[in-house]
């Protein structure tokens, strides 16, 4: 064994200690609280999504005439296909929830402040990438609802100033949703977006390592605990718990599929998936210009939040204006979500 190690060391000249170092890092004791484990949850879900996604590509055919039937095949014919598809779908929803909860935790504990502003920006980019993942994934089913949700969703891109129309053409591969759209969305979903999210997650983790885990305001405890095995065990517990919940959810609520996409028959009631409800409700309430402009401002505001908050703190110190504004926006988003879910 020692000879093999020596052989390997000569060819891979990295010290074992260097590889072990990240696992030996000491974490502040507040991380023992389960709520602070939320950051690792999206990573666990991403791994579940990647594994099930790879399995789904074995049977999925990204061509309009066959896409729907290949999904139906996965759902009704392929051994355990319904389970894999159900877990993939469930994990995608949980991923959005997990990223949101993590962002809320970071927001409330103001962990985005100097010098961690760039990591917050990376986090917002990760959230938007997650939503794009969900949107492109939903469009691949190619049943009536997914086809028309794609049509309406991509229509909104046209109103983005300057780049809207070329971007829409690039995404659709033509002026309308057509076979090119499906292959492009498939390409984005399994190649471009995984590469983007992989880089973003990597950069996010590098920043956490560079700055160290942020401590909540007022927490003066000096105790630490090791990343391995303590923290890894906690994340393993969360991962197993999520998998159990997902498998049992799919057993009781297996995935189904609607009728095939029919480009010349618009369904009477089209709605996006729940995670777009707040935006959808907002767009329905306002004119198109205000709706799109407001959404873009909201996204820009999210990106720049650490700097906006620092500015508010200068204007009115210790008044917690940032928290008040953030809470107001969060509640408004929640109201739009509930409104569209039950009344829309």
């Amino acid at each position: 064994m020692s000879q093999f190690r020596k052989w390997l060391q000569e060819r891979v000249p990295i010290e074992v200690e260097t590889l072990q170092k990240p696992f030996k890092e000491e974490l502040p004791v507040h991380m023992k609280s389960w709520i602070f484990c939320l950051g690792g949850t999206p990573l666990i879900l991403f791994c579940i999504l990647a594994a099930t996604g790879i399995l789904l590509t074995f049977y999925y055919v990204p061509y309009p005439g066959q896409a729907y039937h290949s999904v139906a095949n996965i759902t009704y014919k392929v051994r355990m296909g319904w389970l894999i598809r159900g877990i993939h779908r469930g994990a995608s929803h949980l991923m959005i929830i997990a990223v949101l909860l993590h962002m809320i935790r970071v927001f409330v504990t103001r962990a985005y402040r100097k010098p961690r502003e760039l990591n917050w920006i990376l986090g917002v980019a990760l959230f938007l990438t997650t939503l794009t993942f969900a949107f492109t994934g939903y469009s691949l089913i190619y049943d009536q609802l997914s086809y028309w949700a794609t049509t309406i969703g991509t229509n909104m891109i046209a109103d983005v100033p300057l780049i809207g129309k070329p971007l829409l053409y690039l995404l659709r591969g033509g002026p309308n949703v057509n076979p090119n759209t499906l292959t492009r969305f498939y390409n984005f979903h399994i190649l471009v977006l995984p590469a983007v999210i992989f880089l973003l997650i990597g950069a996010h983790l590098v920043f956490i390592r560079l700055h160290g885990v942020s401590k909540p305001e007022g927490d003066s405890r000096k105790e630490t605990y090791p990343f391995f095995p303590d923290h890894v065990l906690r994340e393993t517990i969360i991962g197993l718990f999520i998998l159990i919940v997902l498998v049992n959810y799919v057993i009781y609520f297996p995935p189904t599929i609607g009728s095939p996409a029919t480009p010349d028959a618009t369904p009477t009631h089209i709605r996006p998936e729940w995670y777009f409800f707040p935006t959808y409700r907002w767009l329905q309430m306002t004119s198109l210009v205000v709706g799109i402009g407001g959404t873009q401002l909201f996204i820009i505001g999210m990106f720049l939040w650490p700097f906006i908050d620092a500015g508010l703190e200068k204007i009115a110190p210790n008044k917690n204006l940032g928290i008040i504004i953030g809470t107001a926006f969060f509640l408004l988003t929640l109201v739009f979500l509930v409104w569209e879910s039950f009344i829309g």
Partner: protein
Amino acid sequence: MSITAQKYLVGLLGFALLGSVIVAGHQDAKHRKKENPATTSTAAPSVSLGLAPGLKIFQEYGCIVCHGEGGNHGAHNINAQTGQQVPSLIHVQDSYTKDELIAKIRNGVPVVAKLDTNGPTPPLYMPSFKNLLTDRQIEDLIDYLYSLKPKGEDLGF
């Protein structure tokens, strides 16, 4: 929670996950026996006796060649505005009245709208059946086409 307790919990959850997967495996055969409502309802051989003449016309007069079995597998039609495919017929009941459909079958669709106005003319178009089908045959065909609408479809997942 102590490290030992966490290790036990990991083991416990591991067993629970294994149990859940075994239950899922047990359910697998049942799930795969369930037929896709959208597929079965459009399958041509499942039409009732009253619809058989319409199905026969659909097959013998070549509708099936472009629109596919059950009217649901449209052939590829380059640069056609309808998703570059010959349209599916399973929702004609929602999209056309009987009179509109009669007119469509009689007159055909000689010019198919282009997806890209600068692109090539779509090669497939619907011919006129005015001189090929009697009024009675068109009615039978429409009865069959209306029957293609998926029954009990469950939209969403």
